[in-house]
Homo-oligomer: 328 residues x 2
């Protein structure tokens, strides 16, 4: 029997919990432990048999962990943790601040490469699977246009923005792709779409007692950057309705490449995700790429990588020969 | 300026013509010539300035061609040509007899590797892009089911079968995915589908003079393997209607992976192709992977490969840093 890949988790929020769950779906992996900045005894894992450690002691586990999955946030955790941990571990993360990826890549690469470690950054669905489909689309159909639509899905950033409006007790915001625009793109037309035409926004808001719904609505739809460029609908609901109907984190979207080959021949490639749980799916992508990180580390292919650098066959527990036989 | 990748085309049917057209869409490539078994003077290329040579003289071009794109058929051409040409050239082909891929891979590998050549086999959309999406689906969502639907598209094999029916002068057959089944799968249900439930078949038939439509229809719908397991509709049309309405080769389909993460959380990944020209799209995929074959050859990564072995970043003319900046 082959030995199982020994995996560690650094950080235990929605993403960490999703990664724990995904590891149990992969028979060639074993969870060594969860590392946290909180008091270890405060964490309740899905599997109570897995040990929880303080992240301050993580260097003691250098020899025991094959791949460390970094489950911190892109804003405050990863910019520090990514390069620091890539010095000592084979790592994988979901760094998703698109504009900062080139700088983050360089920092992680500078930490990993001289220490003979492999580090795959920015794994998930966007950046991640959506990025791959943008790349496939543009490469295969050089004469064409790529469209990325999001939703229907809960946007954390926009929900937070609505919650900051005076008079709002609680709220969620959904980003919704405009069906008419999507259908135009799917048909092979190459429409030029404004931001307003691509997505609409829908808010479900619980008011503070005494707040005026008209004022709150006005404050939301006129909020610069977040809502002024979109058609926004605001629904007022009770706290109970919010809890009952809006407590999951669905998301998804489409990447569509529409292009031409030969003379006036339309070709449309579309990649769609329909996710009941955004962190649950991101976690599953992370765990799959952890297998690839482990293999690259074994092969001596060190330094920072992205999904663009990973041959897809490295993602599967199956051998190359089995993949050719069963899946090609 | 970087030198352009020097490309050759072996075989000039629908696929070869598509490859010629696709090369002109890629500024980092240059077409050296087309190689044919026919009399070179009988070929009319899209660009009359490109030379046509007899395939018997192809070994004279060993130093002049960086990548040779094999555009022969999987049944009669590639089993011979693939291994023979992989001894002398970096090659790429669209070998698509799924059951024979493992044996073909071994033969091409045995020819290419000792001669320090790279050969990517079975490139296109199925095998090819669909295979990649089956692999991504199963790897990311290990607890789930993968569904492949084809169409609406013209099936060459089934059209040929209908044309062999006595009384049929000419015919085309379309494979059509069953919308109800597709929607069930998309919704996150994991239906067990019979062949009949997955696809229906639609035939457009031109009768020989005097043929009895009832007999012809009966002969088609009861044809073993081809039609008995499907609900088949037969339309009788005139030769003019066939020429006017059914002379293009559209195709496409979906790969859907439906699975669960965590407890009862549905996640659905879908990859869709809607192709106005099946050979036009396959050609474009071949040309993109030709770029990867060239790069692997430069890197000294020899032997037979499939799409599973190719890091997606190798497909784009853009540098890794540019891809991270623009597309991740």
């Amino acid at each position: 029997m082959t030995e199982k890949i020994q995996v560690g988790i650094a950080g235990y929020g929605n993403l960490g919990r999703g990664v724990e769950s995904a590891i149990y779906q992969n028979n060639d992996m074993e969870l060594v432990g969860v590392f946290t900045r909180r008091a270890p005894e405060d964490l309740t894992l899905l599997n109570a048999d897995i040990p929880v450690y303080s992240i301050h002691n993580i260097e003691d586990f250098k020899e025991k962990i094959d791949v460390l999955i970094l489950c911190g946030g892109s804003k405050n955790d990863l910019p520090e943790q990514g390069p620091a941990l890539a010095k000592h571990f084979t790592t994988i993360d979901s760094f998703d601040t698109h504009a900062d990826i080139p700088a983050y890549f360089e920092k992680v690469d500078a930490a990993a490469k001289p220490n003979h470690k492999t580090a795959i950054i920015s794994v998930g669905w966007d950046p991640g699977m959506f990025s791959l489909n943008r790349l496939f689309g543009e490469s295969i159909l050089p004469e064409g246009t790529t469209y990325t639509f999001y939703g229907k899905g809960l946007s954390q950033g926009h929900s937070d923005a609505v919650r900051r409006v005076p008079g709002v007790k609680n709220a969620v915001q959904y980003t919704i792709p405009n069906e008419e625009a999507v259908n135009k793109v799917r048909s092979g037309e190459l429409p030029e779409l404004t931001t307003r035409e691509e997505h609409t926004r829908e808010c479900f808001v619980v008011l503070e007692e005494g707040a005026d719904p008209k004022d709150v609505k006005e404050a939301i739809v006129t909020m610069p950057n977040y809502f002024t460029n979109h058609d926004t609908t605001v629904h007022f609901i009770s706290e109970e309705e919010l809890k009952r109907d809006h407590s999951t984190m669905p998301h998804g979207g489409f990447v569509i490449r529409s292009g031409k080959t030969g003379e006036d021949t339309n070709q449309v490639m579309e990649y769609t995700l329909k996710l009941d749980s955004n962190p649950g799916f991101t976690s599953s992508v992370l765990v799959t790429y952890a297998r690839a990180a482990y293999r690259l580390q074994q092969q001596g292919d060190y330094g920072a990588k992205t999904v663009f650098d990973i041959a897809p066959g490295l993602l599967s527990p199956k051998s190359a020969a089995t993949l050719r036989k069963e899946m090609l």
